[in-house]
């Protein structure tokens, strides 16, 4: 495979992951390869990243894909030890010394030694899970900590940082093992397929419903910049809207002094009313990742609206606005606090949209006015109970706008106990599966 082919298939794989790369950038990348040479892999990586990428978030897709197309080595390492204890020994030393090159080499050895499975050409492969399961690097923590302390003594304040540092190093080692296993599999199955399948998507494309705990933490970190971006967009829109349209009547009246020639256009004055926002969030287990995330976003957007009221429900509904007050809420425990402090469940623990929407329409009708925009967040899975469509219609009549954001794929709507299409008849429902869709939707739907 020539370098040019390698480069174009790298670009192809990146495009398949939603990174937008034009031909111009590919040409730049080729020039970068020429200027840098192939000798130093890390430089090549940085050079290609600089020419091909346009944003920080794309980097987490770029790195694993780069590792596949420009691998560190080919085939199996030259020396491997078949003995896990020996490898653990050396890994402990590398962790203690924070020797990154050595850790990378050990990852290669480990995958080769313990990651292989199967013995028929069709079904065999390399597994990082199996490697880590046999090697159990996390159990080295206590030992390495004691080793380091033994060498340096228990002295000083920084000693209490040691454990967390080691934990991060072990995490880094696990990532190295995963990358190496991917490389080995790619050699066997073809890079293009692995690049498409095994590389995790950028954070903004992670499905809310399937995000694991660590991905959710990552998603949370994307809230701040996202909120800021949306806030500037809203502010700009408001500014443009404030320029307003021409008030014909007053312009003509003003033109009387100039003999009917309208010298000074008078703009229509706008009432500087800030819109109000009401959120109804399903916080039951199945969609909690989604509603947590959305509430954080709303909390961050708080100062853009005169009034934001947030209600959470599972099968009972309760107001949780006070829990979201700015500065007071820490994102970590938000979901747990909501579940602890609000009354959200009645007789059973599964969600019931009918009851919750009915409660909202009857108990909190004062929250709705012609200035309110309502967002309903949830998958519309009612567990076979009555969807209570009259309540929804009542809400839509009283509010200015009602939108429903559904974290399920459109293909799933209406299957099983989903009442999505029934609700969608009276409410504008949008598929909202990841942060990218959410920010696009929120940017479009939020009132000025």
């Amino acid at each position: 495979m020539s370098t040019a082919e390698r480069l174009t298939s790298l670009v192809g794989a990146l495009r398949a992951h939603g990174v937008r790369i034009g031909t111009g950038e590919t040409v730049d990348a080729a020039q970068a390869v020429e200027a840098l040479g192939l000798a130093d892999r890390e430089r090549l990586r940085e050079g290609l990243a600089a020419t091909l990428l346009h944003g920080t978030a794309q980097r987490q897709v770029f790195d694993p894909v780069f590792d596949l197309y420009f691998p560190r080595g080919v085939g199996a390492p030259e020396e491997t030890s078949g003995d896990p204890d020996d490898l653990r020994e050396r890994l402990a030393k590398a962790l203690a010394a924070n020797d990154e090159t050595l850790m990378a080499r050990l990852a290669v050895e480990a995958v080769d030694g313990f990651g292989g499975y199967g013995n028929s050409p069709a079904s065999d492969g390399w597994s990082s899970y199996q490697t880590l399961d046999r090697l159990r690097p996390q159990t080295l923590l206590a030992r390495v900590r004691d080793d380091v302390r033994g060498q340096q003594g228990m002295s000083g304040f920084t000693d209490r940082l040691l454990e967390d540092e080691l934990r991060r190093r072990i995490e880094a080692f696990r990532a190295l093992v995963a990358a190496e296993a991917r490389r080995r599999v790619a050699e066997r199955r073809g890079r293009d397929e692995i690049a498409r399948r095994a590389v995790a998507p950028t954070t903004d494309r992670v499905d809310f419903l399937f995000a694991g705990k660590d991905r959710l933490a990552e998603l949370r970190r994307t809230v701040q910049p996202l909120a800021r971006k949306l806030a500037t967009r809203l502010a700009a829109r408001r500014r443009r809207a404030a320029r307003g349209s021409i008030d014909l009547r007053r312009t003509l009246r003003g033109s009387l002094s100039t003999g009917g020639v309208p010298m000074k256009p008078v703009l229509r004055r706008r009432r500087p009313a800030r819109p109000e926002l009401v959120l109804l969030c399903d916080v039951s287990g199945s969609v909690s990742g989604f509603s947590d995330f959305t509430m954080l976003l709303v909390q961050a957007l708080h100062d853009q609206f005169s009034k934001v009221r947030v209600f959470a429900f599972v099968n009972r509904l309760d107001e949780i606005t006070r829990l979201l007050e700015h500065g007071a809420a820490d994102p970590e425990g938000l979901g747990a606090r909501i579940r602890a402090e609000a009354t959200l469940t009645g007789w059973h623990g599964s969600s019931d949209y009918g009851v919750a929407l009915g409660e909202f329409a009857s108990l909190y009708r004062d929250a709705l006015s012609p200035r309110t925009t309502v967002f309903v967040l949830g998958d519309a899975r009612t567990n076979m109970s009555d969807p209570n469509l009259p309540a929804v219609r009542e809400i839509t009549e009283r509010a200015r706008r009602v939108y429903w954001l559904n974290p399920e794929a459109r293909a799933q709507w209406g299957t099983g106990d989903s009442a999505a299409y029934e609700y969608a008849e009276s409410v504008e429902m949008h598929e909202c599966r990841n942060a990218r869709q959410l920010s696009a939707l929120v940017g479009r739907l939020l009132p000025i």
């Binding site: 937008r20 034009g22 111009g24 950038e25 730049d28 020039q31 970068a32 200027a35 840098l36 130093d40 890390e42 430089r43 940085e46 050079g47 990243a49 600089a50 020419t51 990428l53 346009h54 944003g55 920080t56 980097r59 924070n98 000083g156 304040f157 920084t158 209490r160 940082l161 967390d164 540092e165 991060r168 933490a217 910049p225 800021r228 971006k229 500037t232 700009a236 500065g327 994102p331 970590e332």
Partner: protein, 285 residues
């Protein structure tokens, strides 16, 4: 300007800017491919410093356009010197209107703002467009012509093209999404927090009086803080400030009291300070 990536690192280091491999590689490419460099990253990691260091290395004049909300063409590009034009008109009374008209729209009455300054003249220049994300969207349109063709059009004078391309650095804190068109014209560089070893060298370079062991501890504590989920994690600038503070306090090693008393140098929010205090087991911050 540069012969190799190593050359970039070495010469930047001479000016006191220690570049990570990513920074050195990208600067080298920007120079080689003749493209503008868009640098993003958290505040205080040395984005602006990088432009200054490159200017110093290249012995180039640093032309800086500081962006802010409301910066416009007359601030960024050029402006006619109206006062001088009026003066000229009232001084020369016995010439024809045509003569006066051609005269007052000549170079003499043109006030160059940063973008025009950067592409005129033959001396080497580094153009720093700082905090690009703070400027309004319209300004980006203005930048496009400058960044892709290195030329500026003044209606009365025609198009002015750079005879010598400046080295362009744009910085952004990503508070607003820059347009795809602008990004396409640039090489992209994200400067994050440096590796432990690099940061230690930076601290030692910037705070010469600090001894090696303390520098190491300082960087480790900062690293631990960055791993926490804080509203604003400390950046390199804050690490350096803290190192200076410790030096001023005469601390020769870190202990609870010293850290507790000086945590405010690193963290800028009260709830961050409380949180970090709890995690680091500092009693009663």
């Amino acid at each position: 300007m540069f012969t190799s990536v190593d050359d970039v690192s070495a010469r930047l280091a001479e000016t006191g800017y220690l570049a990570s491999p990513a920074v050195a590689t990208t600067v080298f490419l920007a120079d080689r491919l003749g493209k503008p460099l868009l640098v993003e990253g958290p505040a205080g990691v040395g984005k602006t410093e990088l432009a200054k260091a490159v200017a110093e290395v290249a012995r180039a004049r640093l032309v800086r356009l500081q962006c802010y909300e409301g910066v416009d063409e007359s601030r960024a590009l050029y402006e006619w010197n109206h006062a001088k034009q009026l003066l000229r008109i009232s001084a020369g009374r016995d010439e024809t209107w045509d003569e006066a008209r051609t005269d007052i729209f000549s170079e003499e009455f043109l006030l160059s703002r940063p973008l025009l300054t950067a592409i005129r003249g033959d001396e080497p220049k580094v153009l720093l467009i700082d905090e690009t994300d703070k400027a309004d969207v319209e300004v980006e349109g203005l930048l496009l012509e400058v960044l892709s063709d290195f030329q500026v059009t003044v209606p009365e004078l025609g198009t002015i093209t750079a005879s010598r391309r400046p080295f362009v650095v744009l910085t952004s804190n990503a508070s607003r999404e820059l347009s795809e068109a602008l990004r396409r014209r640039c090489l992209f560089l994200h400067i994050g927090f440096p590796e432990e070893e690099l940061e230690r060298r930076i601290v030692r370079l910037r705070v010469p009086g600090l001894d090696e062991a303390l520098a190491k501890s300082v960087v480790r504590v900062v690293g631990a803080l960055r791993a926490m989920d804080l509203r604003k994690v400390p950046s390199v600038a804050e690490t350096i400030d803290w190192a200076r503070t410790l030096l001023a306090l005469g601390a020769d090693h870190l202990d609870e009291t010293v850290v507790r008393d000086s945590l405010g140098v690193l963290l800028k929010h009260q709830d961050d300070i409380l949180k970090a205090g709890a995690k680091l087991d500092l009693d009663a911050v």
